[in-house]
Symmetry: C2
Subunit: 354 residues, 2 copies
């Protein structure tokens, strides 16, 4: 058992404040990680403020974790003290269901999220019924759920790859985006900016859809071949029936039909976000008349997350970030709500110990 | 040019009545067919009554046509006088787009439906700006869009295969239904009863979903391994996350989420019908948490329609039908609206000539 310090929300209405708790003693397959950086995901805010009505307080958010191994259990094979290590959205799963054995732990019914999930080690030797996330100076995780972090990349800018990166990488790979593909990315936020970089590196022709004309220059810098203002019907119509795949990263309720109309026959639009208020009911006509599909995708499996990190190392891809101090996380949440971040806040955990 | 007789609707509010018109003179690739039987599809009613707001009157419905070749153009190769012949929902397409060259003419932007489409031969030598369908004693169609009818099956009961059959066969094949698949069919009407027969013959484990307990016995007779009353949450929950594929043949607005929840990871629910009033907005959560998909599918291509007919000949599959006289079509429409048909009306065209 190790005493750690973190930042927690104690109710939906309160700001995050310093919080002392214990991590469990090291199991034989466990890795103890000294956290260096933790990204700030919109899910952190949703959970801290109980916007998904599932928060169990205190909530210690954070699932874009990069750090260094400070101790390992007796049977740990893949990591040694001193190694760089990453933890994403998952810290456990059932390990035996078809999803787990297929390396798609994110779809396991027994998945345990990095924070605000029931902690199956509760009652062992640490505080808290729920998992506590990366807004803290240390974490203990089973090695199966720990990633190797490439050493050639900026560590702070790697952190968002553990959620925003894999959440966009996984569907781009699943729907076979590559050279010759015409791919649309809807929205240029934390997820969208990663999707543009990744789809570009995969060799696709990338079209970014945004409602904001002031994002055009940045989208092209990030790797978009074209930028379309989605409020402009003429610009949209020029791309009718031309996309192999569209990754829609916008979680706010919006009209999906203007995008399904842009898919080729057999094209798919994949949604990354669950809107708080439902999207308007999508046109079934748009689906039937070109055998199009609307799909969803959730983060990615552990094996695929490692593949994504290795891909990013090879292509020199990281997130565009703004590093903040731990004490400024509440202000960062407010700025995130205004879209005032390019494109991800990352907490420097050295500021927590200080 | 040949004078023919048919039945037409002259406005949304009027019953269908006898209607004299001309079919075009035979082109070099054309086939003239003496119509023996024509199925009554719900689309016929939708169009005759202008429920899709696209009817151009007079409307001569009918796109489940079986007959015998009575003359052929100079360059026709695949048919000779005396052959059985079928015509489904399409009589032409652009022939050069990727959809057409892939044998998926139903997705061609230039597709010409068997009735109520602008007739590209208008101005040649026949009456009508629009195509006129199978509620008539003869039709002239380019041989590319004419199907060979197996001789071992009941001809009247083959007619509905040209629409209801291919509309369900195509998605079952596209989503690779076969031995080992667990397949759900939603609704036991004209489409649903064909889907049950076809999926059963393909070797799948077939579960029929219906709201009507009085359809259980019939569904099992048609080939369903299990029947689930979809209004019963306990029965539904017993099948959670277990289906590879669900074919939803119900065009009326309904809650899609109760069915997407029954799909396995990576499972697809395909919709065959466009509802007049939109379905409630589907749960994106259901899609994201198992990478599920909602898709649409439209009839089938010509090559695939022939494949379906040959499959039906091999497995001795036809539609369950009630044969009616041409003059009784208006009454048949009323009975169709009440669901009082098992499972397809077919018009005996001998009753038109009489």
């Amino acid at each position: 058992m190790s005493k750690v310090i973190g930042y927690a929300a104690h109710s939906a209405k309160e700001k995050l404040v310093p919080f002392n708790f214990e991590r469990r003693s090291l199991g034989v397959k466990d890795i103890q990680i000294d956290i260096l950086f933790c990204g700030v995901c919109h899910s952190d805010l949703h959970t801290a403020r109980n916007e998904w009505q599932n928060a169990v307080y205190p909530v210690v958010p954070g699932h874009e974790i990069v750090g260094r191994v400070i101790s390992v259990g007796a049977n740990v094979k893949a990591f040694k003290v001193g190694d760089l290590a990453g933890v994403g959205c998952l810290v456990d799963s059932c390990r035996v269901c078809p999803d787990c054995t297929d390396g798609l732990e994110q779809y396991c019914d027994g998945e345990i999220f990095t924070y605000n999930s029931e902690d199956k080690h509760y009652g062992d030797n640490h505080s808290g019924k729920m998992t506590y996330g990366g807004y803290s100076n240390q974490i203990v995780v089973d090695e199966h759920f720990v990633l190797h972090i490439p050493s050639n990349l900026n560590l702070a800018a790697v952190a968002p790859l553990l959620c925003a990166g894999i959440t966009t990488y996984s569907p781009l790979r699943h729907w076979k985006v590559g050279p010759g593909s015409k791919v649309g990315i809807v929205g240029l936020g934390g997820l969208g900016h990663m999707a543009v970089k990744l789809a570009h590196a995969m060799g696709a022709h990338v079209v970014l859809f945004t409602t904001s004309p002031d994002k055009v220059v940045d989208a092209k810098r990030l790797g978009a071949d074209e930028v379309v203002i989605s409020k402009n019907p003429e610009e949209m119509n020029a791309h009718a029936k031309s996309f192999d795949f569209i990754l829609n990263t916008v979680a706010a309720s919006h009209n999906l039909d203007v995008f399904t109309a842009l898919l080729k026959r057999d094209g798919t639009m994949c949604l990354n976000g669950v809107p708080e208020h439902p999207h308007p009911s999508p046109s079934i006509f748009n689906l039937i008349f070109k055998r199009r599909q609307i799909a969803g995708s959730l983060i990615g499996g552990i094996k695929e997350t490692q593949e994504m990190l290795d891909f990013c190392a090879k292509h020199n891809i990281t997130s565009d970030i703004e590093v903040i101090a731990m004490k400024d996380v509440n202000e960062a949440y407010e700025r995130m709500l205004k879209g005032d971040v390019k494109y991800r806040f990352v907490i420097d955990m050295a500021t927590l110990k200080a």
